[in-house]
Symmetry: C2
Amino acid sequence: MPVASDDIKNTSPDRISEAEHAVMESLWERSPLTALEICEEVCTRRDWSLATVKTLLSRLVAKNAVATKPDGRRFLYTPVLEKSDYTGAESRRLVDRLFGGRAAPLFAQLAEAEALDEDDLAEMEALLKELRK
Amino acid sequence: MPVASDDIKNTSPDRISEAEHAVMESLWERSPLTALEICEEVCTRRDWSLATVKTLLSRLVAKNAVATKPDGRRFLYTPVLEKSDYTGAESRRLVDRLFGGRAAPLFAQLAEAEALDEDDLAEMEALLKELRK
DNA sequence: TCGTATCATCTACAGGTGTAATCATCCCGC
DNA sequence: GCGGGATGATTACACCTGTAGATGATACGA
């Protein structure tokens, strides 16, 4: 029997958890990587065991956020989800949830929390000028 | 035996979940409110039952995010956690986690996602000017 | 005074997340 | 050829979250 035509809806917007995100960060910085290499990057920082990284990797594979390529007995992991897509969506979510979709209050908030330094201000000024073209 | 001197460390930075945040929003907008009044605000929007709101409220009380004041047979709920504290902390977390603490890339991200409209730009320009004083 | 409507609390339960031990497989060196 | 180390897969389990029903107290109206 023909099996096709069932997995069309796979833009699977499964949320990436925070721990999973740490793994993605490694992969965005450099890829492909083996599980062990990823662990070398994050295990000390987060005090994880290799097993934990492997679990997270398999969940990320299930969520279609990373792809595997066999390399002998092991796997090489590559990100599928792009960093900018993730950060974009995540930023968007925050702005929507906390500020009703308005970005300006977010910046007011960060300013008040003194989370903006000189460099940020300069960059943002430049960006604004650019956007205004 | 003297029982005291154990609950000093209560700046309890328990995280507020997303559903809990929806309840907080109602309370930030107007307070004090009864559970029923809160439900009237959010139950239709989120398709919740009154019981759900009550559970969320009790969790928020446990987290010291809202306070109760008896009013006859029922309770009036008031926010303890301030909105700006919450949004500030939450924004901070995002910027730290996603952009290494730099706000400018977040801004760039939102710009690229076209999440900034004319009003946002204008407000941010004003804000920048103000910060630059 | 007594039932009942009204509340808050307790209990419940499925799904997600953090964290990891254990299991199964397979290839390399002896 | 075979045992052991490496590596992914499976299983585990506690806690958090979303969602809500059941339970218990209680004050108001009849």
